[in-house]
């Protein structure tokens, strides 16, 4: 498929032009060449090239597979080329003409199946191959690239891909991917091609930061869906392919430690969560139970501060191989990390007082995050026609966080322990019949996701000139939240290959059914101090010493106690055809959704049960035209949908982090038409250049806006209208022996026109009302969308010395963080630049790698602000950003890690 001779010719021309060739004589010359895998033409990085004879010397192949040995005077010269896992080659070099060396893999038996298994995308090169030969628009990151990068979780990895932005949590770590700047809700996450339930109570899809990056074989981001993929990815789909059993037994282990710079300048705050009751008193005994103060522990209210910055610890282990004559493949992996993170955030009031001072609330977060992942993948190759796979994963994420919030008159301390887990088990089969013309594959998937935040306690205090004392109204709240999701799914696909003259057809049809149930609970209790004012220092020193009693729980029958369900039935038919230089896939998918909720406690005045039931027909066409052997042109059209999350359609109203939130049973699902065009050029193995353009017409996108009801403003999911979204993507990878550059840039332009409020003087001078609000329309970008997203990585690798390193920076342009009701008052998140670096040294004799990673090197703050506008521009004494009103400033601190990695 790939022509090596073309490559060779190019090299030849290059050397003829730029390297003077001397024939014969004693003049020193240089031996140059490239080392490739004989079977796949893959670049081999780090092969050892030894020149024998009177001037023995050695070299290693670089990132592009090339090497050179200078000052060779004696020809013919004998060199040996070797690389672990390949058969050593001896070559006699006659002159200084560049040579290409193809190494054969050192595997005794390479069956047909084995070849498909080796092209797994684990290396960067095969990742490029997958991108290139994929029928639809996709980007792939290999495990090797992940290992080399400064990234610790899948979330860190994915942000390096073209058109990907991250949404961060309060510690500044990425959690959800925004594809081409579209909100996280528009894309979905797969593990080995299967959807798994999310423990997150608000989002359908799993947060990426709970996956350790070392479990990953590769990461695929699909930007245009085919009919055999689930249809709810308007932005695209993220597929995490977990490690497969290798042909030879492999063992990898790593260990690292690190710290966050923040905790050098302030204390790390923590508490003991071991005594927490996992169930609220009323969850335990029933909603009618008369809860009492003694039902609550005070052990978790003891907040302690550590002066020494805590050290993170992480370790990972994976082992894999094949047994019983290679019939059974086993891959097991486990990872654990215990990391300490923090952030410091200042929130600014909208104006300054007459004295010119602005109200500022300072928040300090200290978090301890424990991630545990275990993963077991088995595959059985009965024979080349029948394969079975069984994949199991259990992931567990704990986040213990103290939020310390202080302003001039109040203090509050929130001690929250959150625990999430996912168990997923998938069985898959691939069966070939009729001389491989007919293929049947199936999957059975079971997933169980759990999320709990038991006894989330907030202590509320007040401050006078010399004292800190209890809030006399409510000194504490204790909140229990949990949700559990169970997914059961079955997938089946049938594919038939046929030839009609020169044309090859692949017909496929299939379907899936998924049944999801969720159960959610929410209880909150309020405490008041007795006596109502208790001073710190005299009445108490620690929060557990405050005398307080539970006085109410207003939420025992809250709508957040609900059951949710979703049944998705989908079917598709698709044809794939190849003729001449054109590859074409056309398909039609039908998805039926029945999504509903059922409140556990009937409440008057709201819908206690609700259902959304709809069909969507989703056509898709993908065409790939091979311009020549190195370049492709692609086109695709896809219709896709987006469903409301399970939580969004529940009619709840609740005070969460910073806003009152409200569900919206009336919210409609989104339907979008997507067009993609892409030009791809692969100048040499592993290198690429891509330019793409896309356009999306999105009907009823779901965005969050503030809605007034009574005196309360609610942050609520809404359909504001229809949006247009268009953009250009550029992605390039280039290697120069020891150096490599990867760069990508996405320009997006989205538009949605909505009605906004304009405050104005009443044109009627005789009216009682002097100031009125009119509705006017304003065009803006989609919520969460950045116009500019760019990534740049510089790689260095010197195989001989064993050093390699990477500097990675990412830029995300400004984007809307909150949509205001008022014209020109949307809150924006300012442009964000992040610099990360990593370096490692390989000690080949002991097969040990020492590595160091540094993230967020510039400690770039996150800013939220309102664009300059006439009303705000007049203000004096207020903090500003880019000329507008500053609303929030947040720092995450640098994070450093050093560690060891061992490979067998």
């Amino acid at each position: 498929m790939y022509s090596v001779s073309a490559n060779y010719r190019k090299l030849l021309v290059f050397f003829l032009l730029f390297c003077p060739v001397f024939s014969g004589g004693l003049i020193a010359q240089t031996i140059r060449g490239r080392v490739l895998d004989a079977a796949t033409d893959e670049t081999i990085i780090g092969a050892s090239i030894v020149l024998h004879g009177s001037q023995p010397r050695a070299a290693a192949s670089g990132l592009d597979g090339s090497f050179s040995i200078a000052n060779v005077t004696i020809f013919p010269a004998k060199i040996t080329v070797s690389f672990l896992g390949y058969i050593l080659q001896e070559i006699v070099v006659e002159n200084s003409m560049p040579i290409v060396i193809r190494l054969e893999e050192d595997v005794a038996m390479i069956g047909e199946v084995v070849v498909t298994a080796t092209n797994s995308g684990r290396t960067d090169y095969s990742a490029r191959m997958i991108e290139r030969s994929a029928m639809n628009v996709m980007n792939v990151v290999s495990a090797r690239a992940i290992e080399l990068s400064p990234d610790m979780t899948v979330a860190d990895v994915i942000q390096r891909m073209s058109g990907v932005t991250m949404e961060r949590n309060s510690s500044g770590e990425g959690q959800y991917a925004l594809l081409r700047g579209m909100d996280k809700r528009f894309n979905y996450t797969l593990v080995n091609g299967i959807k798994i339930p999310s423990p997150d109570n608000k989002n359908r899809f799993v947060p990426l930061d709970i996956f350790p990056s070392e479990l990953l074989d590769r990461l695929e981001v699909t930007k245009a869906l085919t009919a055999d993929m689930e249809g709810d990815g308007i932005g695209g789909a993220v597929n995490m392919i977990m490690k497969d059993a290798p042909e030879r037994v492999q063992v990898n282990a790593n260990m690292s430690t690190g710290f966050n710079v923040q905790f050098f300048s302030r204390h790390y705050q923590t508490f003991d969560h071991s005594g927490i009751n996992r169930q609220s008193p009323n969850r335990k005994y029933g909603v009618g139970y008369p809860f009492k103060t003694s039902d609550f522990t005070t052990q978790n209210l003891v907040m302690t501060e550590r002066t020494a910055p805590p050290a993170s610890l992480a370790g990972g282990f994976s082992a894999g191989g094949r047994v019983f004559n290679n019939v059974l493949g086993i891959m097991v992996a486990a990872s654990y990390s215990d990391a300490f993170r923090g952030s410091a955030s200042d929130m600014y009031g909208g104006t300054s007082g007459a004295d010119g001072t602005q109200h500022v609330t300072h928040r300090y977060y200290s978090s301890q995050q424990k991630r545990m992942g275990t993963h077991a993948k088995f595959d059985i190759r009965l024979n080349p026609n029948h394969q079975l796979m069984w994949y199991n994963a259990y992931m567990d994420f704990q986040n213990k966080q103290v939020r310390d919030a202080v302003d001039k008159t109040t203090q509050s301390y929130r001690m929250r322990w959150n625990h999430q887990s996912i168990f997923s088990s998938t069985m898959k089969g691939i069966h070939h019949f009729a001389d491989k013309k007919l293929r049947f594959n199936w999957a059975l998937a079971y997933g169980n996701a759990y999320n709990e935040t038991p006894d989330n306690a907030t202590i509320r205090l007040r401050v006078d000139n010399e004292h800190v004392y209890t809030d006399p109204i409510m000194s504490a709240t204790r909140r229990w939240e949990d949700n559990s999701d169970k997914d059961k799914a079955v997938h089946a696909n049938l594919t038939y290959e046929a030839h009609a003259g020169a044309m090859r057809f692949e017909w496929s049809a299939g379907g899936m059914y998924r049944d999801k149930v969720r159960e959610s609970h929410f209880h909150e209790y309020s405490f008041r101090p007795t006596p109502s004012i208790q001073y710190k220092g005299t009445d108490w020193n620690r929060f557990d010493e405050i005398k307080q009693e539970v006085f109410t729980s207003a939420t025992l029958s809250d709508p957040l106690n609900y059951d949710a369900s979703e049944k998705i039935t989908a079917g598709y038919a698709q044809v794939k055809t190849t003729f001449a230089h054109i590859h074409l896939i056309a398909g039609l998918r039908m998805e039926h959704t029945r999504q509903g909720y059922d409140l556990k406690f009937a409440l008057q005045g709201i819908e206690n049960t609700g259902f959304q039931d709809y069909y969507e027909w989703l056509p898709s066409v993908h065409a790939r035209y091979a311009l020549n052997q190195k370049s492709n042109l692609r086109f695709s059209y896809v219709k896709a949908i987006n469903r409301p999350s399970f939580f969004e359609i529940v009619p709840y109203a609740k005070m969460f982090e910073d806003y009152n939130e409200r569900g919206n049973p009336e919210i409609r699902h989104t339907v979008a038409d997507n067009i993609d065009l892409r030009y791809e050029f692969f100048p040499s193995p592993g290198e690429q250049f891509m330019v793409g353009a896309f356009y999306k017409y999105i009907q009823d996108p779901i965005e969050y806006g503030m809605i007034a009801m009574g005196q309360e403003a609610y942050h609520m999911p809404l359909n504001f209208g229809n949006a247009h979204n268009a953009g250009i993507e550029i992605d390039a990878t280039k290697y120069f022996r020891r150096l490599g550059i990867k760069a990508n840039y996405t320009l997006t332009h989205s538009q949605i026109t909505t009605l906004k409020w304009l405050l104005m003087d009443n044109p009627d001078p005789n009216a009682d009302e002097k100031t009125i609000i009119r509705e006017v329309s304003q065009t803006r970008m989609l919520f969460g969308q950045a116009a500019h997203v760019a990534n740049l990585s510089l790689l260095y690798k010197d195989v001989q010395s064993g050093w390699e390193g990477q500097i990675a920076c990412s830029y995300t342009g400004k984007r809307i963080a909150y949509i205001s009701r008022y014209i020109n008052q949307d809150t924006w998140e300012a442009e964000y630049f992040r610099l990360d670096a990593s370096v490692e040294k390989f000690f080949s004799k002991i097969r040990l790698i020492v590595f160091a990673k540094a993230s967020n090197l510039l400690n770039t703050p996150m800013f939220r602000y309102i664009h300059p506008n006439p009303a705000d521009n007049r203000l004096e004494g207020v903090a500003r950003k880019n000329g507008g009103l500053l609303e929030r400033k947040e720092y995450y601190g640098q994070h450093f890690i050093i560690g060891l990695r061992y490979k067998l």
Binding site: Q279, T374, T410, R821
Partner: protein, 549 residues
Amino acid sequence: MKRLLVSLTAAVALCAGFAGCNKDEDTSLAGITLSETSKMLKPTETHNLAVSFFPENTADKNLVWGSSDKNVATVENGTITAIGVGTAVIRAVSAVNATIYGECSVVVSLSDFGTQSGAVEGVWTKHSIVYINDQIRVEQGKKLTVEEGVTIIVQDGPVGTSGAPIEFFVEGSLYLKGTKEYPILVTVTENKRTAANKYAGLWGGFVGGDNFSELLFDNVIVEYTGALCGAASQSVLAGLNVADKDQTAGILSNNPEGKIVVINSTFRYANSDAMYFMGGKAIVANNLIHTVGKDDNDGINMKAGVQVDIAYNLCFSVNSNALKLSSSGQGPTRHQAMIRAYNNTIVNSGWRRTKNLKGGSIFLEKGALASVYNNLILNSKFMLKTPSLDRPDPSNGADHNSMVGYNFYASGSQQWTGIHVGGAVIMTAFEGYTFADPDYWHNYAGYAAGFPKIDETSLIATAPGSPDPNFVNFPFNGVPLGEDMFNPSWDFHVHAGSPVLVGANGKTPRNTFSGDFAPYFGSTGLVIDGKEYKTPAPAARYGAFGIKN
């Protein structure tokens, strides 16, 4: 190596198994509840209390029953027998754990009374006692009239399975027609009407929803309101309040098209605001508001959608602001808050607030359009404040067309003995009036043109104790600033020559009342239940009370 793989696999499978493991069961008794927490009975009547045990499958369900007063009620095995007039507490104590018990307070009364809940309409006849034992509402298009002398007793605390405190929700019209001689009393059971419960918020309050038509409170006493809302509170389900955060006001309103008249009434012992209007044309006049707000609560709290006259009210010991005037919530369908507030007397306001300095007497903010004049602010923590006045909009400062002046800020010499909120050491009202406060824009020189001069024409105390309003019976320099119990013998009328009547230091009360100084409903009043109510005209003096006749 293979063995390692197998054992690792087993370990992984084990981990997965733990993911689904179960908790152990504890069946020891944790609590009991009775089917009612309060009950009204007539002598000789009996009532059976049902008991719930938690957990349900607890082993020992033996109980010991007792009554706090066997002359009022006795109990045997859950059956109460009413004996004589009075109140008694019935208690069922677990035989295994004496710290676990359930209680029901029993009121035995000779009067006839009706128990009401759910949808109500019609007439509650004069001098009757009505007992409300669950959520209650007047539906759209329906009317309920309550006649003079009626006592309405609301069950306190969370009710029913909803676990929300009672709110009296009105989508139609409610007419509370008390008289001076026979006011209507809306309260809780007698044994709960204690000083200790003054800020307990025993029940919600009255709520006029999105569609209420008319609300009349004439000679009504409303007390023990302001319970924290629950998820099942009617106001929460209607989107007016947030569970676990908001407390229902004595009267909450939401329909800008509705009409509200609150006159000659008393609002007291409230955990939350006395009135919180988010909609309606309203007259609030000649009321007594005292002992209101546990913390961060106001007396008369007006928002967008309201056009209101507030006149001749006496506010004593309101936690934060006696008047809170804001146009927050304004939008295309909810008009600007329009307020005329005059001749009110505000005493001891703001001192009990511990949250921050955002309360002292009157707060004018967030786009509200207000005329505030001829008010007497006495011994309160701060003067009228106008936060963020440099940014007039419904989220920040007041409308610059507002007029604030001709008020009298009087300060006694008594000193504050409580905590100093936010580090601001303010010992007397005088110090509060002259405090360098970021929300005082009356001295601000930064904005010259178009900026309203707040209180430029007002009379402000020149020293603690001076000038003295010369009250008929109120110890100007004596009543502690933190005093929250209202003494009915106090008389805020003044003697002849008082600065309340004639002004002082070159400042005088306003004496012409046209344009911004005229009430909205002074000449054309509000018609409620066929009767027109007009706001009493402004008087050329400070405060609600003039010379004693």
